[in-house]
Subunit: 415 residues, 2 copies
């Protein structure tokens, strides 16, 4: 049994101290309490974790005084003996704030410590998508407002995470986001400066990975190995292996949209030929919608994915474009599964709204092209959350960090 205590991004492996045992066990308990929807008693925790009952009591005391969990009155409906005291995550524990930008709007989301969404807000854009500084400043204004709203509900925001459609370095610098034209922009630094306060931790991350985190929580952490396809005009994949987000060497894994489907296909915005983006990106599918339809009436106020969904029922050329997209997605996701071996594919973001027209084609390609698919089938389905998954996931990262290592949040009083 190993105990790798690593600092991310460094080959420095830290020594273990006794306090790390406690830190680990605190996290273990908290994860366990979070896992069950119903309150858990100390003795159930002891049985589930294998720790001794007195140890559980001591750890639980720390979590209680730290405000991370709450006792719920004794449950009297048992058979004999002293009734157990239930423990649940505290609704007033540290909350997370997620930020997100879409083609038409800026989004903020507040999630409390139980993982429940307490606030979800859409603000219209006042600047073009291609203006990074102004966009971040607007987001910071929304964030400040959201933090106020949270305070009014008795919540303390412990951190802010911004979702971005492209690879992010060191959870701060946006390297390249073709869909919005950002290139090498330190969104984290700008956001930190705009927020002013040093109270909250600021992070920036790829939206697909964040969406995967949200869907993982939505599944009550039952999904352990899956890939989450997220995006609208930029397609990315959030890969979760053994309950852990796969970040890659430098943090920019999951660029599914730029996997080659046809080596000699059309040229993508990234410069390469035949990227998945060119077949399954929202822009590629929209290109099949006749101009007359695009300009006409009520649909133009909907998001592109909804427009496509409505038109697919009516126009065969839209259905054909969706079939092409599905095939291309299937080929690329097949490559991903051959390489990384996950057992579930979630269609998220805009693709969750188009799942009806996509799943069959993707399923077929996977069945044909994945070596191991014949004896271990891969499940393909729409993600339960959908387009809001990235903001929610962004907010959840904050909560998740505290849950994984509560010792950083709890400042235990010395006796």
């Amino acid at each position: 049994m190993t105990m790798p205590v690593r600092r991310a991004g460094s080959d420095f492996v830290a020594p273990a101290r006794q306090e790390h045992v406690r830190a680990h066990n605190l996290g273990l308990l908290l994860q366990r309490i979070a896992a069950d929807a119903t309150p858990v008693s100390r003795i159930e925790l002891a049985r589930a974790t294998g720790l001794a009952r007195p140890t559980i009591s001591r750890l639980v005391d720390d979590l209680l005084t730290g405000g991370l969990i709450t006792e719920v009155g004794p449950d009297r409906s048992r058979s004999a003996g002293r009734p157990p005291i239930g423990l649940t995550l505290s609704r007033t524990g540290p909350a997370g704030l997620g930020l997100d930008m879409r083609t038409g709007s800026l989004t903020a989301c507040i999630v409390d410590f139980t993982g429940a969404v307490r606030h979800l807000e859409f603000a219209p854009r006042t600047h073009p998508v291609t203006a990074p500084e102004q966009t971040i400043d607007d987001l910071a204004a929304i964030a400040k407002n959201a933090i106020g709203t949270a305070a009014a509900q008795g919540l303390t925001v412990a951190g802010v995470t911004l979702a971005v459609p492209g690879p992010v370095q060191d959870r701060s610098r946006v390297r390249f986001a073709p869909a919005i034209g950002w290139r090498d922009f330190d969104a984290g630094a700008r956001l930190r400066a705009a927020l002013g306060s040093d109270e909250v931790a600021v992070a920036v991350d790829n939206e697909a990975g964040l969406a995967a985190l949200a869907e993982w929580h939505a599944s009550d952490r039952q999904l352990r190995n899956f890939v989450c396809l997220f995006g609208d005009f930029e397609l990315g994949a959030g890969i979760v292996l053994d309950g852990e987000l796969l970040r890659g060497a430098r943090g920019w894994s999951g660029e599914l949209g730029h996997v080659t489907v046809e080596p000699d296909g059309s040229t993508c915005a990234c410069g390469a030929k035949g990227c998945l983006q060119e077949y399954a990106g929202l822009a590629a599918i929209l290109a099949a919608v006749p101009d007359a339809e695009q300009r006409s009436g009520a649909l133009s106020h909907q998001t592109p994915a909804v427009t496509i969904g409505v038109l697919a029922d009516r126009l065969p050329e839209v259905r054909a474009a969706l079939a092409r997209a599905g095939t291309a997605l299937g080929i690329s996701v097949g490559a991903l599964i051959n390489l990384i071996d996950v057992d579930t594919v979630l269609l998220d973001g805009s693709y969750s709204l188009l799942a009806t027209w996509l799943t069959d084609e993707i399923q077929t390609q996977i069945r044909d092209r994945v070596l191991t698919a014949r004896w271990s089938p891969v499940e393909v389905r729409a993600a339960p959350i959908g387009p809001d998954a990235a903001v929610i996931g962004a907010a959840l990262t904050v909560v998740d960090d505290v849950r994984r290592d509560p010792s950083t949040w709890i400042t235990r009083p010395r006796s």
Copy 2:
């Protein structure tokens, strides 16, 4: 700082006890001692790990009595003060035995605790490649002989690992190996039975991952994120992220050979169309060699890769086939890097012998197709070890397991 104590393949997260602190620190020390080629003193370990000097002394005592490390006489060439006592890995510590099968031969390899290859043996095949039972029995005979050879050198073999060209379940059952026609055969069980003894741990693993492990050791664990292309008639990829082999949900990641290159390409042995295998597999390249050359003379006794290498200098059609292979490899590896983000590509196995004709094409495709390649270049080069990497890696897994968690090997006497 988290301390994830997990059992692989299960969502059970174990509680931490004090003994795990020691186990972790023992591993930490051993890794540190292994990292430096020159002997390390206790005080250097203290500085490097951050542990207190007395703690180091106690841990080192355990490693010494466990026979994992050795003291080398004081180094007198220092300036002032008591000279430090050097510590190195013990050459007589637990050794590993690797087994491997190739088209023409069966291979065994013994590696001592320092990672040095002490024995490498090639035996001709006496049965067709497609006969799993006989092949395993032959390998067991070779293994027994090798264990004897090791004993004669004063080495104790702690475990045996068999390298297999295909996905392996639970480190024992071969699910599907197209190149040799094996399907759903529990090689681990057969090998355990044939070896008789319960003394040695038996494991079966994918050859590409094992090769990656060997190359990782050969780089003195300097490579932290890379992919290792390995194979001859079956191509696989061993993916290492942050110094850890990526195994995937069920253990069968890295099936690069069956990633789609041309959606409508020729049909592969696996049933799919346009697999990389069909362009870059050794069989595909060999198909370009004229029949006359294949039958003629001295070359036929060489391995296929050597044959191709020799003919490439003479025949343009062979060079063309290699160029095609390189392009296809570049496209597939590009997909891998877009998805997983590694910074180095090693051409191993047969491909290490053909690197001269492949690297440029692969490099070009990666530069064109990987989104992040423009600001963070990917290195492509021949792997230092080559075709023997899988057997050596197989033997190294045994040593590596003990090195990562020496506490299981050391049975510390109670005071």
